[in-house]
Symmetry: C2
Subunit: 287 residues, 2 copies
């Protein structure tokens, strides 16, 4: 894994900084995307861009697509110049600088921050053998207006992630206040039940991840699986044949242990990993 | 009302800026206070400081009290130098700069931003005659870990405040998903029922404001009133004799109209306004 100093472009300026009056800083009034950068490309750029623009519409943040693309290009140019060809790109968009109160100024200029960071460098075994997952105490609150969005109000995820510090535990499942599993702190979660994939419905809370969406809309059919988004309890996950996590940066990780329940790495998860890799290759070839 | 360019001190630096890697910007991982600055003083500084330090303990942000006081002193010095003696002071504290993910770095250096802004300059009639209040569509989500705190995850308040733009409407009541009134977008709310003040219980959501706390702990008794924190519906507010809003900057505002229900300005609200002013005078005299 290549290490380098993060490169952050703020409103077009390399190594720029953020105004303390920015509404992202003041209220978490914005959205973000985290995506993989590999072989000098952002294979899932189109998907992330689409979700970000959708989120901006839902929060009524007037982001121009051209501004977003300009930041991607600028970041790509710096990466090429510094001969960096892999890592993680994070894009943050906020409603921009505002006054002191909640009311939105009449004229808005969204803030765009595009950063390139070294990859997380997780052990290859996370993907091959699987990861240990805990159940977080911290619950996710329900809000249909915000559900599914990758917005900047992420204190619940931060507090959940602070519940453990041992390196044996890799992720933590988060429940809503009705005891349904929603997601992990930074991943979505699926279970395998015969030829069906089950994953939590996210209309009340949770982030509708890009990897999750690709699995639901494209990869499940390729692997001959049905998909159902529904309410799922911890007990349902304990009874499942296979459980896996996914996100756009790490791809698919089998869950090897959920608290005291252990799973063998299953054939369905392995097949989906293969499909996900192929899909990334297809996206790269199209660029 | 005096107008001036805001003065913002970031980690001790006048007109400093914020790192795009700050966890306040990335996740809303922090807290804030908004307080009145009058006659060159912050009359409620002790109360705000206490709440901020309490919030930091709850979110496990290791803020040193001396750092906070140093920022207050620095802001006071600049204000004196520029002959500014009234306005609004906002203090933001975040967990500091972090990596890209939710996990907290081992070494944390909280970020402190202290800003002095012109006062909002609301018409004197808001206080004398009262304000018109609406009911917001946007609900507050429930989370006992975060309830009461003035944290930086404020998208719900932002979206609620975006529901109206007419200047006749001054505030909006926000409900939880069980249809109980919790607060207004930037104020707490009380109703008067004979010799008792009723205000929403805030153990599931809402911000436990400083003005609210002063009314509950000190002013109610001085005005010969009992206080009860409980679950209150919109209908209960509609049936009330008097309704008022409060916050630390604006003090107490009678509610003149809640949607179609009109209230005469009541004697209890007027007495509490008088008590609040006296209390501010006492705080100023003690400094």
């Amino acid at each position: 894994m290549a290490m380098f100093t993060p490169i952050v472009i703020v409103d077009g300026q390399i190594n720029g900084t953020v105004s303390p009056l920015d509404r992202g800083f003041a209220y978490g009034d914005g959205l973000f995307e985290t995506m993989r950068f590999q072989a000098g490309q952002l294979p899932l750029w189109e998907q992330h861009k689409k979700r970000l623009l959708y989120g901006c519409r839902r929060l009524q943040i007037p982001l121009a697509e051209a501004v977003l693309s300009a930041h991607r290009d600028a970041l790509g140019a710096v990466a090429a110049q510094r001969r960096i060809d892999s890592g993680v790109v994070k894009v943050v968009v906020t409603r921009g600088e505002g006054g002191r109160g909640y009311a939105t100024p009449q004229v808005l200029e969204p803030t765009v921050v595009a950063g390139l960071y070294p990859g997380p460098g997780y052990p290859a075994d996370y993907r091959r053998v699987g990861v240990r997952v805990r159940i977080c105490e911290q619950r996710l609150s329900s809000n249909t207006t915000l559900a599914g969005l990758k917005h900047l109000n992420r204190l619940e995820n931060v507090l959940a992630r602070r519940e453990w510090s041992d390196s044996d535990t890799v992720e933590g499942l988060m429940l809503d206040r009705d005891d349904y599993v929603i997601e992990a702190t930074a991943s979505n979660v699926f279970m395998v039940d015969s030829k069906t994939l089950l994953t939590p419905a996210l209309h009340r809370c949770g982030v509708a991840g890009i990897a999750r969406q690709i699995i639901i809309e494209i990869l499940a059919a390729r692997a001959g699986l049905a998909v159902r988004e529904t309410n799922l309890s911890v007990q349902a996950f304990e009874r499942a044949e296979e459980v896996f996590l996914c996100n756009s940066v790490n791809g698919i990780w089998p869950v090897a242990a959920l608290v005291d329940k252990h799973y063998a790495r299953g054939a369905v998860t392995a097949e989906l990993q293969r499909c996900f890799d192929l899909y990334l290759q297809e996206c790269m070839a199209c660029h």
